[in-house]
Structures are given as structure tokens and as C-alpha cells.
């Protein structure tokens, strides 16, 4: 609505203030990542006036900013977390590939083929999204144990792919629904097989949708906590789980934890900005189009 100049001004100020309130915890957390211990444990809390330090990042990632530029020193310290970041990347990437591949195939059939029970099949896929993770994690723990899948990439990739499947299927279906089916039909008349149409025509047209689906799957795997907590022990661990281990009996390593946390949201944030156009559709599992 286009009010007078003063109401527009007021609205702009209010909008900036509200977003500033939401941004503040992120700023504060990032500032902790650059603080020395005694600046973190200060009362009143120091918001701006502190001497920045790179120590926390150095401890967590083994990277230091010395006089000779950036040097990398992979340490064996308790808070050296680069391997855990790697674990998170591997699990998120592979589970995304798996989920998107399976979902794309299924979504094409659900979007294009008429078969009995299609509607209830979609309902079934949606209802698996309602399962509380704890109801899956408890039985999977015992099954994984007997198959030796605890604490392995395979186990984590499978469970995260499963977790993302309902979202990926429904989202990809909505993107396929956008592509007019006349294209398929004319290709069939020309003698193309279903799979050829899928690979040569529909997939290239749905590229943007596939990218958006992949980004969301990646982020949900990246931020997942309960499965990673339950199904891993020592050799494989994701970032959210190790963050909670920074709480030790002699206190919490806030600076190190903040450095890890702040660094871990940067890639996810960049990814999500890349697919901002489809974000709302993704967050609502394909039911709302922007």
C-alpha cells in the first residue's frame, strides 16, 4: 500500500528494527567466535568493544592467520573439528544425491502416469513425513547394530535420504506438474520411450526444481540432530552433534563452539540464497507455488 512519505518511512524503520532483533543472536554468536575467553565471560556482556581473535577458528579448523598469510596446521587437539565438518559434508552430499535420484523417478510417475491408488500413494508418502524421528531411530538403532551400520557413512546416508524422501518426492512432483504434459504426449507420438522423454525432455526442463530440491535436502541433512546423535558413536559425527559435546565437566568451550557454528551456517546460507526463488515451495513441500 502506498501511504504518505512519513508512513512509508515509519514502515521502513519498523522493518529494519524487527529484522535487527532477529539478526541480533546471529551477530552475538559470531562475535563470541571472535572473542577471547574473558571477553565471553564478562558481565555486562560485551557486544562491540572487544579485541577480536582468531584463536577459536584456529583451534577448531587448524587454520591460523599469521604474519606469513594463512597457514594450515592440522592438530590433534580436542576441539579440532575439521574431520567432523568433512563427515557432515559427505553425509549431506551423498544422502542428497540418493534422495533426489529416487524422488525424481518416483515423482515423474506420480506426475505423469495414471494408476489406481495414486492419490493414496501420495498420502502414504506424506504420512511418512509425520513419523517422529525417535520412532524410527529406536528400531533403526537395533537393526543397524546387527548389520554393523552404526557409526558408518552408509548408515547415516541411508537414514538422511529416507528423512528427505517425502519432501523430495512431493516437491519434485510439483515441479513436474508445472511442465505441460502435451510435451510428453507429442514425444510419445514421435516414438520416444517413457525413459527417453524423462531423460531428454523433462529432466532438463526441471533443472531449477532439482537444484532447489537438492539444496533443501542438503540443508535438512546438514542440520539434522537426532539420527546423527543416535546412530553414530566415534568415527563418524556431524557438526550439530559435536557441537553439543563442547559442554564438558570443566565448563563449556563457547568460543570454539561458536566458531564451528558460525562457520557451518555460511555454506548453507549461500546455498539457500541461490534457490530463493523456490524456497517457499520447498518449505511447504511443493504445495505452495511462488
Amino acid at each position: 500500500m502506498n501511504g504518505s512519505y512519513s508512513t512509508r518511512m515509519l514502515r521502513t524503520i519498523a522493518a529494519w528494527l524487527v529484522v535487527a532483533v532477529f539478526f541480533f543472536p546471529i551477530y552475538y554468536w559470531t562475535s563470541v567466535a571472535f572473542k577471547h575467553g574473558n571477553d565471553i565471560f564478562n558481565r555486562p556482556p560485551k557486544l562491540f568493544a572487544f579485541t577480536p581473535t582468531f584463536d577459536n577458528f584456529q583451534k577448531v579448523f587448524g587454520i591460523s592467520l599469521g604474519s606469513g598469510g594463512i597457514t594450515v596446521t592440522p592438530g590433534g587437539g580436542n576441539f579440532y573439528m575439521a574431520p567432523r565438518v568433512w563427515d557432515s559434508i559427505v553425509i549431506a552430499t551423498l544422502s542428497t544425491v540418493l534422495a533426489v535420484a529416487i524422488a525424481t523417478l518416483a515423482a515423474y510417475a506420480l506426475s505423469r502416469m495414471n494408476f489406481r491408488g495414486r492419490h493414496s500413494f501420495v498420502g502414504w508418502v506424506l504420512s511418512t513425513r509425520m513419523m517422529p524421528p525417535v520412532a524410527v531411530a529406536v528400531p533403526m538403532f537395533f537393526i543397524y547394530k546387527s548389520f554393523g551400520l552404526i557409526d558408518t557413512y552408509t548408515g547415516m546416508v541411508l537414514i538422511h535420504a529416507l528423512m528427505n524422501l517425502p519432501l523430495a518426492v512431493l516437491l519434485m512432483k510439483s515441479f513436474f506438474d508445472d511442465i505441460p504434459s502435451e510435451i510428453d504426449e507429442s514425444a510419445i507420438v514421435d516414438g520416444a520411450s517413457r525413459f527417453m522423454i524423462f531423460r531428454r525432455i523433462v529432466l532438463p526442463m526441471a533443472k531449477g526444481g532439482i537444484a532447489a530440491t537438492a539444496v533443501l535436502c542438503f540443508i535438512f541433512s546438514w542440520t539434522e540432530f537426532l539420527f546423527a546423535l543416535t546412530l553414530t558413536t566415534t568415527s563418524v559425527k556431524t557438526v550439530p552433534v559435536v557441537s553439543s559435546t563442547f559442554v564438558t565437566s570443566i565448563g563449556t568451550a563457547w568460543g570454539n563452539m561458536a566458531a564451528l557454528g558460525a562457520a557451518s551456517i555460511i555454506p548453507a546460507f549461500i546455498f539457500i540464497l541461490l534457490v530463493q526463488k523456490h524456497l517457499v515451495r520447498g518449505l511447504t513441500m511443493g504445495s505452495l507455488k511462488q
Binding site: F225, V280, T284
Partner: protein, 295 residues
């Protein structure tokens, strides 16, 4: 012959080959756990013999008589309701505020997206620090304006712990609502608004009579998607309070998880997680029917 037959089936119009990988993984990872949970709920681990033993309906009887279960059910519903109301109302208010093409508004919407990509477990740690009674910035502000007694740490006092967790939850997920509502607002047709302006309707009337009814589908979907996640809350309570102090922040998911993994009560943990599942399925499907949400 066989190969050719199989080949023809794979490239045919039949949906089965397309759906098979999905069906296989869903069967293995959701139907099998469900059956296993049901089986487990009639058994219990006996530490003395280091084995699972059949106990009949003992777990279900225990569930019925377990005050802590009923308590965690109430806590989960309370958490669900408070968070949903706050996220809906704040989300709608902020969406209306940000629904503008003015300079910088696109940037502001982008900044709000940031909260959604942070792992909830790390958000929990963020608020754990900010609500620390000595050097937490939230506690400090509340104490200096006299709203908080320094002797009652937010997360270690039974009456305020749930509110302390809810602050983290609402902070992270209000932007989720904002983004969804903004998309809905931007898709609204301008004609009803023009007509209302001519008739001299107030902005509250316009919101109440035009915006809300036209947004009902969007709101219903936002409630469904967020509501499912709210009901299975685990991450925040696990890292911030572990259910305490006392049992004031025990969610159903956390209670089920702890029974299984901290107290080695496998059968009872499975019973609890089954109950959580059934409640979500029933409520969500009722909601889908009533609100006529369609995919």
C-alpha cells in the same frame, strides 16, 4: 527373452519400475521400524539376563499409570500450542510489515532466511549461552530491568525453563512463517483491495475480511508443516535442559529417547515413541481433512 521382457517392462508405461526404489526404501525404513516398534512394545530388556523378554501388555499398563508420560504429553501440547500461536501471529505481522517493494526490503527478507539454515541443536546452544544467568545477554537485560530474579536462572527454574526453550524455537521458526505468508500475500489479486478502498474500509477490516480468508489455504499448510515438527520437538530440549529442571521440559520425543538410550528400557521407549507417532498421525490427518489441504 527374459532380458528383453524385463527391458520392455522397465521402459513401459507401468509406474512400478519408477516407484520401486522409493517403495523399497520406505518399506525398509518406515514400515519395518513400525512393526519392530510394535513388537518391541510387548517386550522389555532384562539387564539381569541381558536379553529381551516377552512381557505382554506390561509396557502399555505402565504407560497408562506413568504420571511422567502424562506430564510430558501436556508439556508437548503446551509447547506445540504456544509456539504455533506465537509463530503464526508474529509471522503474519512481520509478513504484512515486509510486504513492500521499497528499497532494502528484499535484503531484509534475505536476512530473515538465515535463521532457517542453522542446525536447531546449535540454536539451542546459542540460547543456552544467551540465557546464562551470569554472562548471558538475555538474562542480563531481563535482570537489569527487574523482570528476572538473579537467583532464578531461566533454564534452571521450573516455571521459566519451558519459556526459555520456546524463545529459541520461536526465534528460529517465525521467519519460516514470514516467508510463507509473504509469498501468499504477494500472490493475492489486487481487485478486492481496490473495491474495499473505494468503499472506505479500514485497514483492519480489509485484513479481517479480505486478506485472512484469501490466505486460509496458505495458513493451513503452514500450520500443518510446522505443527508436525513442533509435536516431535527434541533438539532444543535435549541440548538446553535435557528435560529438566525436574520434568518441566520433557517432550514426548525426549522422554522416549531417554527411556531407550539412557535407561535401557527398550520396550518402554518403543511404546512411548509409538504413542507419539499415533498422536501425530491422528491429529495431522484430521487437520488435513478439516482444512482440506491437498497435495
Amino acid at each position: 527373452m527374459r532380458v528383453a521382457q524385463a527391458r520392455r517392462f522397465v521402459i513401459s508405461d507401468h509406474p512400478l519400475p519408477w516407484l520401486l526404489p522409493l517403495v523399497a526404501i520406505l518399506l525398509v525404513f518406515t514400515v519395518y521400524p513400525l512393526i519392530y516398534n510394535i513388537w518391541l512394545s510387548f517386550h522389555e530388556f532384562v539387564p539381569r539376563r541381558r536379553a529381551l523378554e516377552f512381557v505382554g501388555t506390561e509396557n502399555w499398563v505402565q504407560l497408562w499409570n506413568d504420571t511422567r508420560f502424562w506430564q510430558s504429553l501436556v508439556i508437548t501440547f503446551t509447547y506445540f500450542a504456544i509456539a504455533l500461536v506465537f509463530e503464526l501471529v508474529l509471522g503474519m505481522a512481520i509478513a504484512l510489515l515486509l510486504d513492500s517493494d521499497g528499497f532494502g526490503f528484499g535484503f531484509l527478507r534475505g536476512v530473515l532466511t538465515m535463521t532457517l539454515v542453522i542446525p536447531p541443536a546449535i540454536v539451542g546452544m546459542m540460547y543456552l549461552l544467551m540465557e546464562d544467568p551470569q554472562f548471558g545477554v538475555i538474562s542480563y537485560v531481563l535482570q537489569s530491568i527487574g523482570l528476572l530474579n538473579p537467583n532464578n536462572p531461566i533454564l534452571a527454574t521450573a516455571s521459566t525453563a519451558l519459556a526459555g526453550v520456546l524463545v529459541a524455537e520461536i526465534w528460529q521458526w517465525t521467519p519460516f512463517m514470514v516467508l510463507i505468508f509473504l509469498a501468499g500475500l504477494r500472490a493475492l489479486p489486487p481487485e478486492p483491495y481496490e473495491a474495499a478502498m473505494i468503499d472506505g474500509a479500514s485497514s483492519f477490516q480489509i485484513f479481517r475480511r479480505i486478506t485472512l480468508p484469501m490466505m486460509s489455504k496458505v495458513i493451513a499448510i503452514a500450520v500443518l508443516v510446522r505443527g508436525i515438527d513442533l509435536f516431535r520437538v527434541f533438539d532444543y530440549v535435549f541440548v538446553m535442559t535435557s528435560g529438566g529442571p525436574g520434568a518441566s521440559t520433557y517432550s514426548l520425543s525426549l522422554y522416549a529417547w531417554q527411556q531407550t538410550f539412557s535407561f535401557v528400557k527398550w520396550g518402554y521407549g518403543a511404546t512411548l515413541s509409538l504413542v507419539t507417532l499415533v498422536i501425530i498421525l491422528v491429529i495431522a490427518n484430521l487437520f488435513i481433512r478439516i482444512a482440506k489441504v491437498r497435495w
